[in-house]
Point group: C2
Chain length 278, copies 2
């Protein structure tokens, strides 16, 4: 049975959920989105995601056409209709059907649910390798649909044997295309970039979790700090906490999953637990 | 009567021409396009546009799924079906229906025709004002669908009383979002940026037209050169040649449409004439 998708105020089967080719996402790559997960049918950190969704929409001058209460009702109706317990839900808001293919029009709002496995373990089970690349996302503090460079880089990642890319500008670390970056210094300070990044909800939850238990700094983090780092990990709604044991072929710390990544992962897992079963 | 659109190999009415929401243009802003005009039913500089279309597709690792002969057949069938004499034809190639919303899939090819008036005069009838903005397009030498910053800037343009934006990085001029930039120096050398830009077909035709009749240079052009410039104009398939008489509120030359812009415009008009009436 196909699942359903909201396209504006219509609930339609996924294989019919479409936008006309005049939409500014298709014509001009113009749109924003947000993405949250559900555990046991319950949205996780929904209000935080909706805060960011409305912030992104306003920053890009897009009117969602619904307020928070109406959007929650629509999300609730979609979850009930589909009955998928553990999922990712994506809210996409595009530039709409522009008469001249350039000026903003009434945005189109798409709400789409997909299967997403909940992590089976509170502790990270694998680590990844990053490749650095000199790039800063356009309008980096807004969750736009712009992943042009990230997708374009995929063959290069495979060629270099890396799992993901780490953007930097002039040696100042920004973020991975879909994740935030954390580094534990040799003095056990947990640092993370504070500007020119998309501030993830998981990043926020990490900072909340470690508050008072570990020194933290939101500041410029340099590529040069990688060589002396005790640990590195990245975070996202989908990926949770993923330890990084190699950057550009150079080992981070002792090359193994570190205790802080493990602790942070378990702590986040615990904090999200009320949203679902364990 | 609605006109028709090719979506892959299907000719469908425009009000049904759509892509499923899983397409990477909608999900990730990933796609390329090209745009040519027809005069009296005849495509203008079609081969040049198709060269660039296939170049953009290859650069973004997108397989058009048709070769040049097949694409021309499809364009021909569309033009015949619609019977719109003076038009713009847009070829859009997207990242396709990605199973994971991130990896490239089989691209979708959309061919869409819209009304476009042929200029009524060989000489420019109006001039415009530009506003400068520090920005370099991502992958600037590829005609991607990424116009995020350009569209985002539109309210600022209106606020500043400007007609279009001129991108630069660190004072080095690049291009306007949809046009190329030319400057006639105080020594009557026609200069235009040679790198970090999308090389327009009209730009190419300007350089061909002036070859041997005016000194030209493809090189770094600085914002600082604006103050002493005799003329500035921008070029594009849609806009043809448009004189610029003001940048950031500062007058260019004597503030009037210059003789070189007029001559270039007339010359291009003459060269394109075999494609249409006149």
């Amino acid at each position: 049975m196909p699942h359903f998708v909201f396209v504006n105020d219509s609930l339609v089967p996924a294989d019919e959920a479409s936008l006309l080719i005049g939409d500014l996402a298709i014509q001009r790559g113009y749109g924003i989105f947000d993405f949250f997960k559900t555990m046991d049918g319950e949205p996780v950190y929904l209000d935080e995601h909706l805060d960011r969704f409305f912030h992104s929409a306003a920053a890009m001058r897009l009117d969602a056409g619904v307020n928070r209460v109406e959007l929650k009702q629509r999300i609730g109706a979609l979850l009930e209709r589909n009955g998928i317990a553990n999922s990712g839900v994506r809210l996409t808001l595009t530039g709409g059907y522009s008469p001249d293919g350039y000026s903003l029009a009434q945005p189109n709002l798409v709400i789409h649910q997909s299967l997403l496995a909940v992590p089976v373990s509170a502790e990270p089970t694998h680590s990844i390798r990053l490749m650095t690349y000199p790039h800063l996302r356009q309008l980096p503090e807004v969750k736009t649909i712009d992943y042009l460079v990230a997708i374009w880089l995929q063959p290069l990642l495979r060629e270099k044997g890396a799992d993901d890319v780490l953007y930097h500008r002039d040696g100042v670390i920004a973020e991975c295309p879909r994740s935030n970056f954390f580094l534990l210094t040799d003095r056990d300070v947990l640092v993370t970039p504070g500007t020119n990044i998309l501030k993830g909800i998981t990043r926020m939850k990490v900072l909340e979790a470690v508050n008072g238990r570990l020194a933290t700094e939101e500041r410029e983090v340099l590529l040069a700090e990688l060589t002396s780092a005790n640990e590195v990990f990245i975070t996202s709604t989908t990926k949770h906490v993923v330890p990084v044991t190699e950057v550009d072929g150079v080992r981070i710390g002792d090359g193994r999953i570190g205790p802080v990544a493990k602790w942070v992962s378990a702590e986040l897992y615990k904090r999200a637990a009320p949203y679902g079963r364990r």
